[in-house]
Chain length 253, copies 2
DNA sequence: CGAGTGTTTGATAATGTTCAAGAAGCGTGG
DNA sequence: CCACGCTTCTTGAACATTATCAAACACTCG
């Protein structure tokens, strides 16, 4: 774990982002905001590729990813890697519903990242306030994303899988206010995408090309734009997880 | 939901089986055993193919599958089916770590089944006794099985997947004392296996044949025998979930 | 025996992988 | 500013894996 101070100028912006994310689940009480504000100040930078959490680590320290992306992954003994899920900026991790839970997979940063502890959320699952609500929402979302991942890997074609994952990114980033006109940034390589989709990089590349040829997406460097959400959702049989759509509604101006 | 009385002669055996399963997590207190005994008496039969739990149903009624197999599954709009996980006799379902949880997928019986409620386990997650321990164990196992399923589907060949799933069956049934000399019964068709493995039935069939030709397994009707556990585990990079190996140790005479 | 369901087989096609090499983007240091 | 090395993306060709379709076979139950 290789962490260090965060550049001065950013801390304010990132702290406000963290507070906004928490508040998107419900309004924070004065004490809750106080606690969140204090712990967000402890934010730390992590390098690209840093392991934010090891497989088997005790799940008793809630954290929020304030900046950068990360993945939950497992590496097979022969080097093949499977990515289970992505963490996007604003995502909360390190939670577990049951006491003494252990991480079932490692969490690794995909880009330089900033992380802050949220002791407020530790063991908050069954508490009445907004903290409890946040934990519930986060766990519910995690579960439903994992189920969607199984469906993609088991029963969908490369084409459908890729679309489904892009739509998931879209909806999750939209809740964090990181989508503009269908466009967002994926700060990682096609290899990462492939390890999530269970495909070779070459095939991921060609499938992306197909989507571009069909004018369903545009890409420029790490920017992706989804051009026809309805069409894409139809092709991949995608439905937004209910735990997201609730929050999307509450975020809308 | 199509349920009815259980045949007279079986209730005693099934009740004892249920009690044995619960006790395999830790010794039950007098009150716990009392409660379990009472609710096991409410066991009900379910037909082949019956839906034991609908997708979206509130997860607040713990139940135990005393007899028969079931699956967690989701069906895509075009009819393709993905099976996420299997429930073997002795498995507990209907639990959720968070309050107000909803089932993310439907549970369907694969064979005629017998099910009993276990109110003892409702909201027992954070309680001190053995009931709490059971809930923790069950949830931990579910999670780790789902992760294994993702790895199989995403990064393993048909051959590896099939072996991995067979080993999982072996170890889970062994804990329930349903394996004899590497041999056990899978009371469902190759189509079910295929829907779990994300393969066509034809390909599942041919992969099974290959395993037989290589003398790694034997099959006779619904009986399967694994002939070389070490070899099989090596091929598929399989490790027994830790939540199972703990119980396997405690079950051993 | 006959209908129904599940398994096996063969032929063929689609989907996805591998390997190898070239092109494009990016940072670094001269 | 350019040259260089590095990584990522892209391309082509050959190959492997898995799916699809259709038919035959086997087993089970009435």
């Amino acid at each position: 774990m290789n962490r260090s101070r965060v550049q001065q100028g950013n801390t304010g912006r990132l702290r406000d982002f963290g507070l906004k994310v928490l508040a998107s689940h419900g309004s924070l009480s004065a004490e809750e905001e106080q606690s969140a504000r204090a712990s967000l100040a402890d934010m730390q930078a992590a390098e690209d590729d840093a392991e934010l959490m090891a497989e088997g680590a005790p799940l008793n320290q809630a954290q929020i990813l304030l900046e950068g992306w990360a993945v939950c992954q497992r590496v097979l003994s022969d080097g093949r890697r499977q990515i289970f899920s992505f963490l996007v900026p604003g995502d909360i991790f390190g939670l577990c519903a049951r006491p003494h839970g252990e991480a079932t997979c490692a969490i690794a940063a995909l880009s330089p990242a900033t992380v802050a502890p949220l002791p407020l959320l530790n063991d908050a699952l069954n508490t009445p306030g907004t903290a409890g609500r946040i934990v519930q929402d986060v766990l519910a979302l995690q579960e439903s994303l994992l189920i969607n991942q199984v469906v993609r890997l088991g029963r969908q074609s490369a084409y459908e899988r890729l679309i489904g994952l892009l739509l998931e990114f879209h909806d999750r980033l939209a809740v964090m206010d990181m989508v503009e006109d269908g466009s967002f940034i994926l700060p990682f390589t096609q290899e990462v995408l492939s390890d999530a989709l269970g495909l070779s990089t070459v095939h991921t590349n060609r499938t992306l090309q197909q989507l571009r040829r069909e004018h369903l997406i545009e890409t420029h460097l790490t920017h992706v734009r989804l051009l026809d959400l309805k069409m894409l959702a139809g092709i991949s049989d995608y439905r937004m997880p209910s735990s997201l759509s609730r929050r999307a509604a509450s975020t809308a101006k």
